[in-house]
């Protein structure tokens, strides 16, 4: 028996099997719809995976903006106020990067003036004076921007003299003393040079 010939005859029976009429009529359209759906979900999936990354980038920029705004807002903060730590932190960072202590000294002096004007407790003013002393000493140790520091210390002395008139505490006297001593030390260094 020629089996191969028999098999070729079977082919006509094999070809009788066909998909349903509905499948033939709708199949092409259904396929296109499913392909479109697939492409849509692929795009959505791409964005879905990008979402955490996009969120991280957005959050980073928001934090940058907020922190920049925070730093700006904190510049007028006084000891005891919520943004005061932000102010001190930004000062430290600036001082570390630039090596310039002038800003720190300037801020401490400004705080003494503001606290006195606002009639804050002598304890608070005393603390501010101690911080001022620390800042002046640190500036002197750095031996940088000495002319600038001297000029500022002179201005501080004048300001402290002004507020002394309206203040009863000894803290302002101490602040004046600190600024004088700081200038005298600067003068001595110049003489030594």
């Amino acid at each position: 028996m020629d089996i191969e010939k028999k098999l070729k005859e079977f082919k006509k029976y094999y070809e009788k099997v066909e998909p349903s009429r509905n499948f033939m009529e709708q199949g092409s359209k259904n396929l296109q719809d499913r392909i479109l759906q697939l492409e849509k979900s692929k795009t959505e999936r791409r964005f879905y995976y990008l979402r955490p990354f996009a969120l991280a980038v957005f959050t980073f920029f928001v934090l940058i903006v907020i922190s920049g705004g925070l730093v700006q807002a904190s510049q007028k903060a006084l000891p005891g106020e919520p943004l005061y730590p932000v102010k001190r932190l930004s000062e430290d960072v600036t001082a570390r990067i630039s090596g310039n202590q002038v800003n720190r000294v300037e801020n401490r002096a400004g705080e003494i003036v503001e606290l006195s004007k606002k009639g804050k407790s002598s304890k608070q003013v005393q603390k501010a004076v101690e911080e001022y002393k620390e800042a002046v000493d640190q500036a002197k140790r750095s031996r940088k921007n000495t002319d600038d520091i001297e000029k500022r210390l002179e201005e501080h002395e004048r300001e402290f003299e002004q507020i002394k008139k309206g203040s009863s505490g000894e803290e302002i006297d101490e602040a004046i003393e600190i600024s004088k001593r700081g200038r005298n030390d600067e003068d001595k260094k110049k003489d030594e040079k």
Binding site: L7, Y14, P19, S28
Partner: protein
Amino acid sequence: MDKGLQELIDKSKKGDKDAYGGIYKIYVKKIYRFIYYMVYERELAEDLTQMVFIKTWVSLHSYDETKGTLQSYLFAIARNLAIDYKRRKREISLENIAEPASNHEADEEILREEQRDLVAELFKYLDYEEKQLIIFRYFEELKFIEIADILKQKEGAIRVKLHRILKKLREKIKGGNYGY
């Protein structure tokens, strides 16, 4: 390769869905028949046929004409889908899908026909791979090289297997009644 078909392939690769629709119309019945004789369920065969064309669309950018015909590419995907289905069905221990259609409750339309499904009767003597070889070689009339591409086997091995299948069928059919 036929020029018209080549054009459809090139356009489809660029994302032309209408061109791909043309490819679908050329091959849909062939793929359906093949899958039907693997799973013996009409609706399932239709679903799997659609899957073949969806998978082909997704992977068409990587299809290389120099490595085989589009027909063998489609049949390879169809074969893999049918095998996956068979494996899943085995895992959940359902009925044997290799039963001939005349014994299969799901396919009542075939049963209602006056003429029995002689192909299914023939296939009951063959295992899964042997069935595929007979379909590819004698019903779809693919070349040996195409069959080798689909089954990822050497041409020589395909020829040897087919020779054995024919010997087996010769012995079985000798004693059987196939409506002649």
